[in-house]
Assembly symmetry: C2
Homo-oligomer: 233 residues x 2
Amino acid sequence: MSTDQKTSYLDVKNVIRRRIHDTVWEPGSLMPGEVELSQEFGCARATVNRALRELAQDGMIERKRKAGTRIKSAPTRHAKFVIPRIREEIERMGFDYRYALIERKEKTIPDWLCARIGGKAGEDVLHLRCMHYAGSRAFQYEDRWINLVSAPKARAQTFQDINPNEWLIREVPFSDGEVILSTVNADQIMSEMLNVSLGAALFTLERITWLKDMPMTFAKLYFHAGYQMTTRL
Amino acid sequence: MSTDQKTSYLDVKNVIRRRIHDTVWEPGSLMPGEVELSQEFGCARATVNRALRELAQDGMIERKRKAGTRIKSAPTRHAKFVIPRIREEIERMGFDYRYALIERKEKTIPDWLCARIGGKAGEDVLHLRCMHYAGSRAFQYEDRWINLVSAPKARAQTFQDINPNEWLIREVPFSDGEVILSTVNADQIMSEMLNVSLGAALFTLERITWLKDMPMTFAKLYFHAGYQMTTRL
DNA sequence: CAGTGGTCTAGACCACGTG
DNA sequence: ACGTGGTCTAGACCACTGT
């Protein structure tokens, strides 16, 4: 009568976590290899492997072939935030989503944008300014630039009835992106658009998207006052 | 002469990703089961399993036992942000990290905090206000509350020479947490502390931490003007 | 070159949740 | 009840990289 349930990768994960927390293994030091651990835990190497793989993904340890696995001295904390599609975010709150194009202009790429996203000088870009509403309330002001070289189809799109994000998702694949969260004091334009007082603290999200080194689009989103992003750890 | 390298879980992942993007399988609909896919790809079920598991983790699909695997209609976009330890963040920028305690006071838990973190009325808490400097420049103002019921050891700690976060990491385990990013206009105190003009837009990070339903600590961090969080997708 | 993690396999049993 | 995903195993080969 042995209560020999097989040891799960979760058990392994937890034990190791505990050991790291209790400094059984010094930060920065090497921990035993997979084979050794699998013997200790009485399970297959694959089980240990999965536990360690996930711990590495969580940023608790660092693994290198031949070098072994070491405890991260500075256990990095990650938080996963949802970057919502605006329509869904608004509808999930129970409001009607409404979109309005304010301006649409083809231009030559400005220098600052060139530097910002790594484009080539002289290329054509499409500049869009739009608003997103939740019911009758202004929700987000969007300042969007689309590279017409890498996304020429945008030329034929008026963006009167579809917002840039939804169009891009449908029409343009992308490989890589960058997101920057920051804040800004509302200037004249934003205060009018978002109906907030001049200087109000606004949450902003900048997003750059590439397709294999080709810059596709740059967007700066200004949220209504009081907007916040939430996540669980 | 067959170039029969074994198909990797990465291959599977990529093909599936492609199919989802190309709407080979309708959003919201069921996709084939693991067995069927493993036959199609000519690999072991474990391989398909890993591919699907990771795709689920990336938010592209949703899996349920017995129900099968379906394509997420609203492919959620996630972004993983690093929640840095302030000392490391500052030192990584090449500055000296300096910490200063401004105020330390034991109190009865205020109502708003009670509601905020789900504590019991009447419990004792420790309220700390501190500053973090990068070299000579103010970097972050911290407003911290520690539950003295769940972390009684905090009573004996002056927090003169160690910042709350580092102490908590060392002394108190935690199971669960919540992070909220938002913005605020600098009030009198913050403008003095962070040396910014009154009303400047500040980036704030609130953090609540629990240990098995026991609220441990609540912190609101106010960053210097111009602070931003960055991540790759 | 040799040791460590990375991955694949084929088969097995289990747990959950739908019908 | 039973089908689907979830996990474990034992063994094998590969790929990277420190020595």
